[in-house]
Amino acid sequence: MNQNPGPALEVQGVTHRYGSRVALKDVRFEVSEGEIFALLGPNGGGKTTLFRIITTLMPPTSGDARVFGHSVRDAPGAVRRKIGVVFQQPGLDPKLTVLENMIHHGRLHGMLGAPLRKAADALLAQFGLIDRKKDYVETLSGGLQRRVELAKALLPRPEILFLDEPSTGLDPGARIDFRNELKRLRNETNTTVVLTTHFIEEADHADRVGIIHEGDLVAIGAPDALKKEVGGEVLSIEAGDPESLRVKLEAMFSCEVRSVDGSLRAEMKGAHAAIPRIAEAFPGEVRSITLGKPTLEDVFINQTGKRFIDADADEPEARKS
């Protein structure tokens, strides 16, 4: 167990600009030691920029981030000794074997000889990769490669693990396996995990989630707490003329009804009881009514007035290379 005072990660008023475009606006939050924290947001919202800042690949335009008290701006070397990183793009050399990739990475972190081999073998065994260790990485499936990445990142025993979109390119089964590996890691070694994702369901499994949109941190908290803030239940209504129905519904229930991309959404307590009333009052106008518990997507809609998927579509991938 680590005995570090203070939070594992502190993001202190980070602002970042690419030319005149603002990618991050005064983002601040903390992640405690041993926490699994997800940064959720559509692509192009600033997640990857923030990721590159906290992994010391580039300094922010202003503000600072601290990893166990070390500034990414003033002491990137000290930060690098604390962190393990799994980038979105594969950080493995496909022309080297699994073991060679591990050895290469270990040496970059000052490990060598028999202890390095032992540590590499132990991790490969733990991740079920031991019988593939002599294979070239290019012959492994995407899911297996991601596991090699994780094993590689864990080799120097980082105190905090950063993962950029770890689920991208994995099939649902591999995604669940990977998530369970992260949980086990946290439970067994108290490693702090910070990951970015644009999968709502992945963020749901984190201890806490920060929602980032157009460079702003729009919400932060435990998934359940965030969903509770939205309200009891969510009604989604498809209608022939949404706008006129929206006005009528607001009058009827005296609560806010939002129009999001042609469908209506209302958060209210006891929404299920409202369904028959709506169906009876507006028989010709309603096409369908759906009742659901709030999800993180509802949290996102509440904060931004946009649908998660649409926000994704109208933001081009903002990746400076």
């Binding site: 590159r52 992994t55 010391t56 690949l57 580039m58 070397g77 690098r80 000794r81 962190i83 990183v85 980038f87 793009q89 594969p90 950080g91 493995l92 050399d93 022309k95 080297l96 060679e100 050895i103 290469h104 990475h105 040496r107 970059l108 972190h109 000052g110 060598l112 590689k152 400076k320 290379s321």
Partner: protein
């Protein structure tokens, strides 16, 4: 072993391993210059007499130039790998590791220089064919000079590779900068017979001194044949300075890179 050495060593080793696993690179870097040498050397053979020398044929004159070309090609091709590494984002992982940038660049430079030197050594085997009177001393000295040229050219290549986004971009720089650098180094024709303007460019081209050093070491036992070239020591000093400048610029570029 210090972390610096360990980082440098593992990066060096990866460069070598990758090269050995890519046969096409070996053939490309070695086959092409040999082909050039045989075709150009025999083609020019009857029309060319080295003005200031002992009347050797073009095959002999061109031979050290071809070694320089092999070293140039191998060194530069090895830096293509860095462009690929950046494109594949492999370098992000290296840059997020707690290692000084200069250790990364040094590993890359030594990798390229080693490959260049090995290819050059292979070519030395053809010395009797070229008619160069090579002694053991001359061979050893020449190998050292090849290593030095390889170091400087790899560092130059890295300086570019850490900035350029695609290998296509690198190809255009190669034909606009690197090939002329070699053409105007005394590798293909001597300074003495060139147009004064070209001669001036050749005199400020650092590679001219690399090729001169190589000729001087190859003809260590017959210095008269290369009497009108720049001296060995001044040539070595210029090459070392050139390599040092390129290396430190490459490190600075790497320090500003985000992978």
């Amino acid at each position: 072993m210090t972390p610096y050495m360990l980082c440098m060593g593992t990066i060096w080793q990866r460069e070598i391993v990758r090269f050995v696993r890519q046969r096409s690179r070996i053939i490309g870097a070695f086959g092409q210059p040999v082909l050039f040498w045989l075709l150009l050397g025999s083609g020019f053979g009857r029309n060319f007499r080295y003005a200031g020398g002992g009347g050797e044929g073009y095959l002999e004159y061109f031979y050290p130039g071809i070694i320089a070309m092999v070293v140039l090609f191998t060194a530069i091709f090895s830096t293509f790998a860095v462009v690929d590494d950046r494109k594949a984002r492999f370098l992000q992982g290296v840059l997020a590791a707690p290692v000084p940038r200069s250790a990364i660049v040094m590993g890359q430079v030594l990798g390229g220089a080693t490959l260049a030197l090995l290819q050059g050594v292979l070519l030395l085997v053809a010395t009797p064919l070229a008619g160069v009177p090579l002694t053991l001393e001359a061979a050893l000295a020449s190998v050292l000079v090849m290593g030095l040229i390889g170091f400087a050219l790899t560092a130059l290549g890295l300086l570019l590779a850490w900035r350029i986004e695609s290998t296509q971009g690198f190809h255009s720089i190669m034909s606009l900068l690197l090939i002329p650098l070699w053409l105007l180094s005394g590798a293909v024709f001597p300074v003495s017979g060139a147009h004064p303007l070209i001669g001036l460019v050749m005199q400020v081209n650092p590679l001219t001194y690399g090729v001169a050093a190589l000729r001087r070491t190859l003809y260590l036992s017959a210095p008269d044949a290369v009497a009108n070239l720049p001296g060995l020591w001044i040539s070595l000093i210029i090459m070392i300075a050139f390599g040092g400048v390129c290396f430190s610029l490459a490190v600075r570029t790497a320090e500003q890179s985000e992978g």
